[in-house]
């Protein structure tokens, strides 16, 4: 179909050339098709369209006939090796069918854009950050997960499962629960006692001539102040229903943030400055699991990682909050092979594969059994993640427009807030509700 279309198109474009020949009232018409045919007819088997998945569509019952199934899987660069291993094991576990896997390198946070451009050539199975799920569900890009759904719900942690449910339907397979942030610190500067309160961290760091890097101007991190005492609730469809950031507690939180920014030991920077600066000019910094190896290597015995500290808000110590985010494996709603795609996604997020992901990539699992394993508890940053999770808010209902107002607020604070805190917070809340659309 595509090919004939392309030829028809080429012909049509050739028409244009043809048309040219008549404009002069001079002699007649002819075709300079020598030129024009080049432009359109370039269907010349550039072929390689991994786009079209599906030499077969699911027939009748799933896994009992010798089908040949093409599956396109998207994952970020660093997951490619892991995905290839999983694919091999999946083939071995399902010898009744022939599976041809193709892998595409697509960053998790670009999945939404790539599917938005063209869902039909999108991957059958892909991984995405849970704060993009709502957008993809709204745009009808995800398949509802119905096969083996009860097992999926029971084997994964409650919060991860909740994150994968929208509008009462399970829309993806929880695959990881490690997208959070916590505190890395240099034990040669800060003691285990110091890192409990923000005040002590700032004081000790200043005394040592070092810095605390807290990337508050990233909306994701900036929220940790307002969430500390604030209410921020979404309904089942992912619309914001309750938010009290502009009450007295919110004002206290922001005033505490302003005080931190004004402190000489505070440094606003991005995550790279946390991992690069620790052991050097930085005493402590907020970051996530992706930097754990680098920091551990650098600090050696002085490597410390724990939950976020408490901050002094309105005279009392309040634990700073964070987001408990995770990764979801989704199935393309326009896949030609939904049954096989779901089976693979199921396999990809199973206990064994999450165990493998932990071993190969140190991924924090959403699977209950893997999460409770001793091996996992021995990993300091995952332990810190679990500790901080008690004070964290589930991220899954979030989506892009809700980051923006808080990000704007924190960036205003960093640049030097001009107005008063109360009216700024009123604007934040107003814009957050505006994001409901």
């Amino acid at each position: 179909m595509k090919r004939t279309l392309a030829i028809a198109l080429a012909l049509m474009l050739a028409l244009f050339a043809l048309a040219g020949c008549g404009t002069d009232t001079d002699s007649g018409s002819s075709s300079n098709s020598g030129n024009s045919s080049n432009s359109g007819s370039s269907t010349t088997d550039s072929g390689s369209s991994t786009a079209d998945s599906g030499t077969s569509t699911d027939s009748g019952t799933a896994a009992n006939d010798g089908e040949t199934v093409d599956l396109l899987v998207w994952g970020p660069q660093e997951d490619q090796e892991f995905l290839a291993v999983v694919a091999e094991r999946f083939k071995a576990a399902n010898p009744q069918n022939t599976y041809n896997f193709t892998f595409g390198v697509v960053k998790e946070d670009e999945v939404k854009s790539r599917l938005g451009e063209d869902i039909t050539s999108g991957a059958d199975v892909f991984r995405l950050p849970d704060d993009q799920m709502r957008d993809l569900v709204n745009s009808g890009s995800l398949y509802e997960i119905t096969r083996n759904a009860d097992n999926v719900k029971s084997r994964n942690a409650q919060s991860s499962v909740e994150g994968a449910i929208l509008g009462g339907k399970l829309m993806g397979y929880p695959s990881a629960a490690d997208n959070g942030y916590y505190l890395y610190y240099d034990k040669s500067v800060l003691s285990d006692e110091d890192v409990k309160t923000l005040d002590a961290i700032l004081e000790k760091s200043a005394a040592a001539g070092k810095k605390l890097v807290y990337p508050i101007t990233i909306g994701w991190v900036g929220y940790s102040w307002l969430l500390a005492q604030g209410t921020f609730e979404f309904d089942g469809d992912g619309k914001l229903t309750d938010c009290d950031f502009n009450n007295a507690d919110g004002v206290a939180a922001i005033e505490a943030a302003v005080a931190m920014v004004a402190h000489s030991a505070f440094l606003n920077g991005d995550f790279d400055q946390v991992s690069s600066g620790l052991g050097d000019t930085v005493a402590a910094g907020v970051g996530g699991g992706w930097m754990a190896d680098a920091i551990q290597e650098k600090l050696g015995d002085n490597y410390g990682v724990t939950k976020l500290p408490t901050a002094t808000m309105g005279g009392k110590q309040v634990q700073l909050s964070s987001w408990a985010g995770g990764k979801i494996v989704g199935v393309n709603s326009h896949t030609q092979v939904p049954v096989h795609a779901m089976d693979f996604a199921d396999f990809l997020t199973s206990e064994e594969m999450q165990q493998l992901a932990f071993e190969m990539r140190q991924t924090g699992p959403s699977n209950i059994n893997v999460a409770n394993s001793d091996a996992l508890k021995g990993v300091p940053h995952l332990a810190a993640l679990a500790y901080q999770a008690q004070f964290a808010q589930v991220q899954a209902k979030m989506s892009d427009p809700y980051w923006s107002p808080v990000e704007a607020l924190m960036q205003e604070i960093n640049a030097g807030l001009t107005g008063d805190v109360q009216s700024a917070l009123n604007a934040v809340v107003e814009q957050l509700f505006l994001a409901n659309g």
Partner: protein, 285 residues
């Protein structure tokens, strides 16, 4: 005495000139120098607060070309080079064709055509990315280097005005003489005008050659995760993603240095022509 004074004054002024140039060069080259230093650094940190690497190494360059399992730089480099060469050839030809036509041939609606071309180039391109993607898809050209060549070349005609200005400056009497000798317009274009257009050809070649090396938006959308068809810009930017940057930052720097080399060489080889080309073009707008 006065001679000595003048001599002194000359020397001082000369010195000041060169000092000023030297200071400015340092300012302009500082980020470039830092890039090179980073590419020679052993410590992998993406962000350092000191300037000179603690340990120098060439390992980043070696890794760039040998450790290709995750980041296949040599392949991306060849992809980009291929796309750059083809799109450069095609767009240069297209630009020359269109500018010559607008400069030399007279036909109805010529002025209108010129104005339309002028403003078309001012539309913010990436809004239309989705449409471009689907049109390419219709021709089965997404995820192919051919598709990239098509995109980079198809818009080239929009930058006709400099070349057109150049053709305006070539004396028409040459054409007329050739016509009297029985040459067709086609012959005149290929045999007379083009050979005289070295400066402007150089200029367009440079402009069109650079685009594929620096575009990180279109190429990303067209290739859709097919990493063996990526260009260096897409691939290198992927190297500094949050999850990769801690490991690959210095390798990224090495990659940028490697990418810059062909462009610097091209600039240096063609500097004379480039300058002349732009000037002559601007004279007539």
């Amino acid at each position: 005495m006065s001679n000595f004074k003048r001599f002194l004054k000359h020397e001082v002024v000369d010195f000041l000139y060169h000092l000023l140039l030297a200071v400015m060069s340092v300012i302009w080259l500082l980020p470039v120098a830092w890039l090179i230093l980073n590419s020679l650094r052993l410590e992998k940190d993406p962000y350092i607060a000191y300037i000179l690497p603690k340990t120098f190494t060439l390992q980043n360059y070696v890794n760039l070309f040998t450790n290709t399992r995750d980041f296949d730089f040599p392949r991306w480099f060849m992809n980009t080079l291929t796309v750059a060469i083809f799109s450069c050839l095609i767009s240069t030809l297209l630009i020359l064709m269109i500018s010559y036509t607008l400069s030399r041939l007279r036909f109805p609606a010529r002025r209108l055509y010129m104005n339309i071309l002028l403003i078309l180039g001012m539309f913010p391109g990436f809004m239309a990315m989705v449409a471009v993607y689907h049109l390419l898809n219709l021709m089965n050209l997404t995820q192919t280097l051919t598709g990239l060549v098509v995109i980079y070349s198809s818009g080239a005609a929009l930058t006709y005005y400099v070349a057109k200005g150049f053709f305006d400056t070539i004396p028409r009497s040459l054409d007329e003489a050739a016509t009297l000798d029985g040459a067709s317009k086609n012959t005149i274009f290929w045999r007379i005008t083009l050979p005289m257009s070295r400066p402007i050809i150089t200029y367009t070649i440079i402009l069109t050659f650079i685009a594929p090396w620096v575009d990180f938006i279109f190429a990303n959308v067209i290739m859709r995760g097919k990493s063996d068809k990526w260009t260096v810009a897409v691939g290198l930017r992927n190297m500094i993603e949050r999850n990769n940057v801690l490991e690959y930052f210095t390798q990224f720097c090495a990659g940028i240095v490697v990418v810059s080399i062909p462009l610097v060489i091209l600039f240096m080889l063609t500097q004379k022509n480039y300058v002349a080309g732009v000037t002559s073009g601007s004279t007539k707008g």
